[in-house]
């Protein structure tokens, strides 16, 4: 060992200088003159249902203090002396924790590991070689170090988080550990870390700087280019021992070793059950390893402690943004270092189960309690031994005397209190009870009774979840109905499904299956089943033509009592990971029974996706024109996907509609002269041919940081129909090319960002190959007995194709987005909850020049019949303007929107509608106000838009109080008042009119109580 040497000396006056000291017997971290082993913990506070975006430090002080009181007391009792925190912890709380509990904080700057704002533009993948990126990261580190300067309780600085793994992982989720690589980018990463360490030393002479490496990957590079680092900090998951890690680190760098993460999960992936005793066994052996290799204990002598991963379970780790309420049991990566549940070819690391405490559900204030697992008690006993006042024999004897199974009774008792063993297999959840009463009336001309009518609705929802075997999970959602109100202004709602079909108003079908999900994990595939439950599309996984559609329909599924979607997905794993299959009677709303298969694989940089869809029958449901039935079809698609630098090239081909080959269709050609039946057209009949089933699409995108550009060109044969393009390329443009056949199109959009402002114009040029048919009446001559067929707009049921959203369009869109919080993507699906900051907003202006008309849409009649409209409205331009605003200031959150637009109905009415309005949702602690006002707008239902039914005024207001602050997609208990006022006229549904009356009023007011458990 080297002679006594001070490797690091305090340079400024500070309450507690911290330094690394090396001597003959090893290395120690010395704090205020005393050696201190780091008994550390990766600590966070994230209630169940929250994820990485939860802003704990943004809560009121009283909330934070109460949460800290629970956890820090337990940590202190355990013997923990340091927590690891990212540098989002306000410095005053570092001091508070230290002052009240004597626990230090290791402050960790991420150095762009999960992205960083570069010149105001969020950049997910940092280029460590880019001087602009490097400067941005170092500038931010400098600001951070200055914030914590001189603060009590700071122990040391940490840089990054497994940043070397980020060079090879494809997402921010944990993946299989990469093998030692030779990524040339590693040199740039570690030179940056060296510069960062030098910067910290320059600004803060009191605290050492540690890496937070992924194991000891790139140790040779670190040795050469990263000499400024004081401590080799590393996240290590090698099982019960670090093996030769201490020696290798010491020989390469001469630095002490600090585990910045290590531990074991508490779930046995092989047996499919919680196993806290096994977890405790690993942690005990890992700490024995540290003690043996600490100063003076006979080992290498450079172990200075570690931060156990982690304090409590992270329920958000799998998927990160979804299923946050579920304690996911999926293992996401394999690791043979944990042999008790390792099976070759399978994953065994359960990311959501690494806590040494288990977490309870939150109370009404948002606090939760923790139940210490056996690991807590084992480590509490282990830490009782002073690592620097002992011998190697004493270390062995101490650790030999700690028996995890002997301490397991404490956690077992706690677990038995919270749930019995049998309830782990079957449990009730998401119980929701709704009680709603209202009174409504209207002036006679509305068709509504003038005398007030009262109505009540009682509705109950509950989920039954079961895990009958390992890897098998199912959920059944039930709805039961008491009364069903018959006086509602908004006359379609889910509970009506319980009413008798004879229109008597009797409740006959009280109980129904509201939805269902099932998931089965097998070695080579995951099977998912769904009924009236949403699933995502495959647009980001190679489905270039949108064959497999997303099924998040919001309230429409309930409003129209849809019986779908219903189907299954098979996701290949392991050797079959390139394959996916979806099949079922209705895999998206309105779909025919079908099966879709996908093969998607990358060959080097080139991605190849091949898909085939086969409709097995005709027979989609017809509850709403939002989901019109389709004719039986067959589709095959191929995609080549190639990134070239900052560009991405995608080239796709589609063959679709081959069952239509040979079908007759008609079209018209303009002629000089009278034409057929004096229409000015020739009338032509033709047949679908093979060439009409072919489509091609090419897309080029460029991501140059502050500028992003998209160019797309498509050709679709007459019947070459794909689906909707749901891929959001950086911005959620409204102007999209049709997925139907019978058109060619060119579109281009660019997004230019300057700080928080993004300007994103887009243009679309789309033309049908065969235009819409006009309406020309048929003619019969009684004298000659000759019938001259009329010309009518086509419809998708009666014709092989139709001109609808693929009508001729020259469109322009200007999208402006103001988003000062780039870390939360403005277009995220749950932005109502996630979008933070004093102000985020967008303005979307769209203009469509539509010089020609279209063919006929379909309508779903009250009796379920699907019929085409007899015609189509004339050609007409349309425009839409929408502004959305999000604001959070203290306890008040606002979400609002303003809109205006000119458009046509979906049916055959030629009356244009100039609509405008606004909506506002305001939350103040537990109080929510929701209001919306629509002027001259369609009613809320599909048939309103189909048949051009409008109201001059529609207003809705809702004021409610909840036991917790309102959250998106979370069960709530709320008591509320609601009111609704509509002004109807001759264009409104149900209008009966009266002499001299041009408009009339109808209203509804109600009170509701919703319990959520």
């Amino acid at each position: 060992m080297a002679a006594l040497a001070l490797l690091f000396v305090a340079r400024s006056a500070s309450a507690e200088p911290v330094k690394v000291v090396a001597g003959e017997r090893g290395m120690q971290l010395v704090v205020a003159g005393k050696p201190m082993m780091v008994f550390g913990m990766n600590w966070d506070y994230q209630p169940i249902g929250e994820n990485y975006s939860y802003d704990f430090w943004g809560k009121p002080d009283a909330f934070i203090e109460e949460a800290l009181a629970t956890d820090m007391t337990l940590l202190k009792a355990m013997g923990v002396n340091t927590i690891r925190q990212y540098d989002s912890i306000p410095p005053r709380w570092v001091e508070w924790i230290y002052d009240h509990y004597g626990i230090y904080t290791a402050v960790n700057n991420l150095m762009g590991r999960y992205g960083h704002a570069i010149d105001g533009v969020w950049t997910a993948n940092i280029d460590y070689a880019n001087p602009v990126h490097r400067k941005a990261l170092l500038d931010e580190l400098e600001a951070s170090v200055k914030r914590y300067a001189g603060r009590r309780g700071v122990l040391l600085w940490m840089l990054g988080n497994e940043s070397n793994y980020g060079l090879s992982w494809t997402s921010f989720e944990i993946e299989a550990l990469p093998v030692e690589g030779s990524d040339p980018r590693a040199v740039h990463l570690y030179t940056l870390m060296n510069e960062a360490a030098q910067l910290v030393h320059r600004l803060d002479g009191e605290h050492p700087v540690s890496l937070t490496n992924g194991d000891i990957q790139y140790l040779d590079i670190i040795k050469t280019v990263c000499p400024a680092i004081d401590i080799f900090g590393t996240n290590v998951y090698r099982g019960e021992s670090g093996g030769d890690i201490y020696r290798k680190v010491f020989e390469a760098t001469g630095r002490p070793l600090l585990y910045t993460e290590f531990g074991a999960d508490a779930f046995d992936a092989k047996e499919g059950r919680e196993d806290d005793v096994a977890q405790a066994g690993y942690l005990l052996k890992q700490w024995r390893d540290i003690y043996r290799n600490a100063h003076g204990n006979g080992g290498v002598g450079n172990a200075i402690g570690g931060f156990v991963f982690q304090w409590t379970d992270g329920w958000w780790k799998t998927g990160q943004d979804v299923r946050l309420e579920l304690h996911d049991k999926d293992a996401s990566w394999p690791n043979g270092g944990y042999p008790h549940d390792f099976v070759e070819g399978q994953n065994n690391m359960n990311e959501e189960w690494f806590g040494i405490t288990a977490k309870s559900a939150s109370d009404s204030e948002g606090h939760y309690t923790v139940r210490p697992r056996t690991s807590y008690h084992v480590l509490q006993e282990a830490f009782a031994l002073d690592p620097y006042a002992t011998t190697s024999e004493a270390v062995d004897a101490h650790f030999d005397a700690i028996e995890p199974s002997g301490l397991s009774y404490r956690y077992a008792a706690l677990r038995a209190e919270s749930e019995t063993a049998s309830l782990q297999r079957l449990r009730l959840s998401n119980l929701r009870m709704v009680f709603d009463s209202s009174v409504s009336a209207g002036e006679a001309a509305t068709g509504r009774a003038e005398a007030p009518a009262f109505g009540h609705t009682e509705s109950f929802y509950v989920d039954l979840e079961a895990e009958p075997a390992k890897g098998v999970w199912g959920k059944l959602s039930l709805n039961a109905v008491g009364s069903v109100a018959g006086n509602r202004l908004d006359e379609l709602f889910y509970e009506q499904r319980a009413l008798a079909a004879d229109g008597s108003g009797d409740v006959t079908d009280r109980v129904a299956v509201y939805g269902a999900e099932v998931k089965v994990e097998a070695p080579l595939a995951t099977l998912k089943g769904y009924y009236r439950t949403g699933h995502t599309h495959w647009g980001y996984e190679g489905d270039f033509f949108g064959l497999y559609r997303e099924t998040f329909y919001g309230p429409n599924l309930d409003t129209y009592k849809a019986g779908g979607p219903l189907g299954f997905e098979l996701e290949g794993k392991g050797a079959l990971s390139a394959f996916d299959v979806a099949l079922g009677p209705e895999i998206y709303w309105g779909a025919n029974p079908m099966v879709i298969g996908k093969y998607s694989e990358r060959f080097g940089e080139l991605g190849l996706t091949v898909m085939h869809q086969e409709d097995l029958l005709s027979g989609g449901s017809a509850e709403s024109s939002f989901a019109a039935p389709e004719r039986r079809n067959r589709k095959s698609a191929v995609l080549l996907d190639l990134p070239v630098g900052a560009f991405r090239l995608q080239l796709g081909g589609l063959m679709s509609g081959t069952p239509r080959i040979g079908e007759r269709f008609t079209y018209v050609e303009s002629v000089e002269g009278r034409g057929y039946l004096d229409s000015g057209y020739n009338y032509v009949a033709d047949e679908v041919q093979l060439a009409d089933t072919v489509a091609g699409r090419a897309r080029v995108t460029l991501d140059a940081g502050w500028t992003k550009w998209l160019l797309q060109g498509s050709y679709h044969g007459l019947v070459a129909e794909g689906g909707e393009d749901r891929v959001v390329s950086w911005q959620r443009w409204s102007l999209q090319e049709s997925g139907r056949g019978n058109h060619y199109a060119l579109s281009s959009g660019v997004a230019v960002s300057a700080g928080s402002l993004t300007v994103a114009p887009k243009a679309l040029y789309q033309v049908p190959l065969v235009g819409p048919n006009p309406s020309v009446d048929a003619l019969y001559s009684p004298q000659t007995g000759i019938f001259y067929p009329g010309i009518a707009p086509r419809d998708v049921l009666g014709s092989p194709f139709a001109v609808l959203d693929n009508r001729e369009t020259v469109g322009g869109e200007l999208l402006l987005v103001w988003d000062p919080t780039p870390a939360s993507w403005y277009w995220q699906w749950d932005r109502d909850d996630k979008e933070r900051g004093p102000l985020s907003a967008s303005l979307d202006l769209v203009y469509r020049h539509q010089p020609t008309s279209r063919d006929a849409n379909l309508a779903v009649l009250e009796n379920g019949a699907v019929v085409p409209f007899g015609g189509a409205p004339p050609a007409s331009d349309s425009w839409d303007a929408t502004m959305e605003v999000f604001s959070e200031a203290g306890p008040v959150r606002l979400r609002g929107a303003l809109f205006a637009g000119l458009g046509q109905a979906r049916g055959d009415s030629g009356r244009e509608v100039l609509r405008k309005g606004f909506s506002l949702t305001a939350d103040w602690n537990r109080v929510r106000l929701l209001t919306r006002l629509h002027l001259d707008d369609w009613g809320p239902y599909d048939y309103d838009r189909d048949f051009n039914l409008t109201y001059p005024v529609q207003w809705y207001g809702d004021l409610s109080w909840g036991v917790k602050a309102a959250r998106l997609n979370q069960l709530e208990t709320r008591l509320g008042l609601r009111g609704q006022v509509r002004v109807a006229d001759e264009h409104s549904p149900g209008w009966v009119g009266a002499s001299g009356v041009s408009s009339a009023l109808e209203y509804e007011s109600g009170v509701y109580l919703q319990f959520g458990l």
Binding site: R664, T666, Y667, E669, Y676, N682, Y683, V684, A685, D686, E687, Q689, L690, A691, T693, V694, G696, G713, Y715, G717, Y744, L746, Y765, V767, L769, V770, G771, D777, A778, L779, Y780, S781, P782, T784, G785, I786, F787, Y788, P789, G790, I791, A792, G798, L861, N863, A865, V867, P868, G870
Partner: protein, 194 residues
Amino acid sequence: MRMDCMKSRWGAALCALALMSPLAGCLEAGEFVYGEQVEEQPLQLHAERVGIFPDRSVLDDPNNPFRYSWPTATSKWKIESAAGNVVAFYSWATVLAYEPTGEAQYYTALNLEQVYKNGQAVQEDLNAVKELAVAGYQSVLDNFPDAQSFDASGTVAFDLVTPSYLAIVALGETPTGDWVLVDSASGQPRAVRP
């Protein structure tokens, strides 16, 4: 590729790209549509419920001269008054498929009744034609209970459920669905559902 339908040079360029496909070989042009003589032929039933709402199989019947184009407001009455019962049946059944109304259903049933009475169907289908006529009238009662039609002047309305009810009885069957016949104020019978 319908080059004659392309309107722009851009379109032509993309068409050229598609034409490179070996699948875009010999595309035959369409044929002009002209008027055709509609002749009365014996009725051959194409499907079990042809002409009964919501059945639309008449649109697939190769014997239906109107399957590609439904007779519109004026021509359907001309056909009703001047063409034979089989042609009139096809006309009204086609109208019913495109625009389901009680009027279309009634006249579909009426012409089926006439086809039956005049023996204008193939022998083996005659009984089925009668049953279809009854089903058609019943469909008026079941699906279009408020249906009305107008006389030749277009101003005098008359309900269609009463003649439908009476027609079913005249064909020797009993209407279903709780319909009864009562005397109206004018002394004329009227079908109502209590």
